[in-house]
Symmetry: C2
DNA sequence: CCTCGATCTGTATAAAATGACAGTTACTGG
DNA sequence: CCAGTAACTGTCATTTTATACAGATCGAGG
C-alpha cells in the first residue's frame, strides 16, 4: 500500500528539491509546469494520492499547503542518549538528552541515535570518554564490528567477536580486559553497530 | 545599518518558528494575526525593512515568497575540504569535496568547515587517519589548542604551543617529532582551531 | 519646530492558488 | 470484456495572498 509509483516518487523528489531551493513548497501550477502538465489538476491528483499513502500532509485552503512527513522526522534530528535508565529501552524518552540534526549522507548505514561514551576502554579505536557514537540499530552484527551491547542492564561500547556460543566484547585499550559472554548462560542484547564517531569541542575533551 | 530593531528580530524569529512548524513561510495575514496587527500592511512593511537590511529575500508575486538568507547558508551545509591545492585559500571552490549539514548546536564555537585528516600523527588525541575535523576559522589561538596550520603550503593538524617567537606544532603520537617554527624566519598561517571530530563508518576506519 | 524612520490602522484590488467537475487514455487483474 | 487505477487535459468559481495607497502616532536628532 505504501509503495509509490515511479511518477509519485518523482513528484516527492521534486517537492523536496523545490523546498531546498525556494524555502517554500511549490503550488499545483508550479508542479504542473515543471513536469509539463497542461493542467494543475494533474498535480492536485498526485498530491491527493501521496496524502492517501501517508507521504505528505495537505493543509486545506492554505496556499503551498504541502508538508512532507519525512522532513518532520528529519527536523527532529537524532536523539542523544546519555545515561540509560536500567530496564528501559534505549530510545525511551527519559534517556534522550538532546536532539541533533545530522546530514544523513554523512554516515552509512543511517544512524538511529547518538550515544555518549563513558570511559576510555576504546581509546585505541579513537573513541574517547565523552565522545558521541552514531549507532545504527540492528541485531545483525559481524565479528570485528564495534557494537553497542547491553549486558546485565549495563550498556557498553566494545568490539564484537563471536566464537561459537561464546561472545567476546573486546576493549581497544590494553588497560582493560575482554569481557566473556556465554550466550547459554547470559543474555546479550545488541543495541546496534557504531557507524560513526563525533567529538564535541566542549567538555573534558582532549583539545582546547 | 544591519542592526535589527527588537520588533524586527521578533518578526524574523517568528518566521523561523513558523517554518519549522508548518514547513512553509507565513503569509502577511498570518504574521499580522500572530502579532495582533489589524492590518496585513504592518507585516508587509516589516518584511520590506528586513529585505532592505538583507536578512531575507522576497519573491514578488509569489505567495509565501519569504526566504530567510541564513537558512540558505545553513542549507548549504559545511564544506568538506579534502586535498588543499597549493597556494589556494583553504575554502577555495576546488578544495570542496562535499557539503554536509551539521546541527550548529553540536559544536561551539560554530565551525566553518570540515577538514579530512591525513596520517596518524594525532592518534593519541583520538584523531585518526581519514577523520574529519570541524574547524572554526580564527587567527586567535591559545597554547594547547589543536589547530589547523599552513606551513610552506602544507596543511597540518597539530597541537599549538607558543614559546615567545618560537611556535611548536606538537603531534599526539610518540612516533612523530614536534615541528619547530621560528616566526622570524618562517610564515605560519593559522587556518582555524579544531572544535570537533567526526569519523565516518565507511572508509578505512578502524571499525566495521 | 520639523523631518525621518519605525510601527502601526484601514481599505482596496489584481494576481496567485486551491479545489471542484467533466472528460480522456492506457494499462492491469479478474 | 469490464472495472479499477494511474495519469493526465480543460475549465472555472472561490478563496487566499500580495501589495498599493492613504493616513496616524511616537520618539530621536538636527
Amino acid at each position: 500500500m505504501n509503495e509509490l509509483t515511479p511518477r509519485q516518487r518523482q513528484i516527492v523528489e521534486f517537492i523536496q528539491q523545490w523546498l531546498m531551493d525556494a524555502g517554500r513548497p511549490p503550488t499545483r501550477a508550479e508542479i504542473a509546469k515543471a513536469f509539463g502538465f497542461k493542467s494543475p489538476n494533474a498535480a492536485e491528483e498526485h498530491l491527493r494520492a501521496l496524502q492517501r499513502k501517508g507521504v505528505l500532509d495537505l493543509s486545506p485552503g492554505a496556499s503551498r499547503g504541502i508538508q512532507l512527513k519525512d522532513s518532520l522526522r528529519e527536523q527532529m534530528g537524532l536523539p542523544l542518549i546519555g545515561r540509560v535508565a536500567a530496564g528501559k529501552p534505549i530510545l525511551a524518552e527519559e534517556n534522550i538528552e538532546a536532539r541533533y540534526q545530522i546530514d544523513p549522507q554523512l554516515f552509512s548505514p543511517r544512524p538511529h541515535y547518538l550515544l555518549k561514551v563513558k570511559g576510555m576502554s576504546m581509546k585505541d579505536a579513537g573513541i574517547l570518554d565523552g565522545d558521541l557514537v552514531a549507532v545504527h540499530r540492528t541485531p545483525e552484527v559481524r565479528s570485528r564490528q564495534i557494537v553497542v551491547a547491553r549486558l546485565e542492564n549495563e550498556v557498553t561500547v566494545k568490539r564484537y567477536k563471536q566464537d561459537g556460543p561464546i561472545v567476546w566484547l573486546m576493549p581497544a585499550n590494553d588497560d582493560f580486559d575482554p569481557i566473556r559472554v556465554d550466550l547459554k548462560e547470559q543474555s546479550l542484547i545488541i543495541e546496534g553497530v557504531v557507524v560513526g564517531v563525533l567529538r564535541q569541542g566542549t567538555g573534558k575533551g582532549s583539545f582546547q
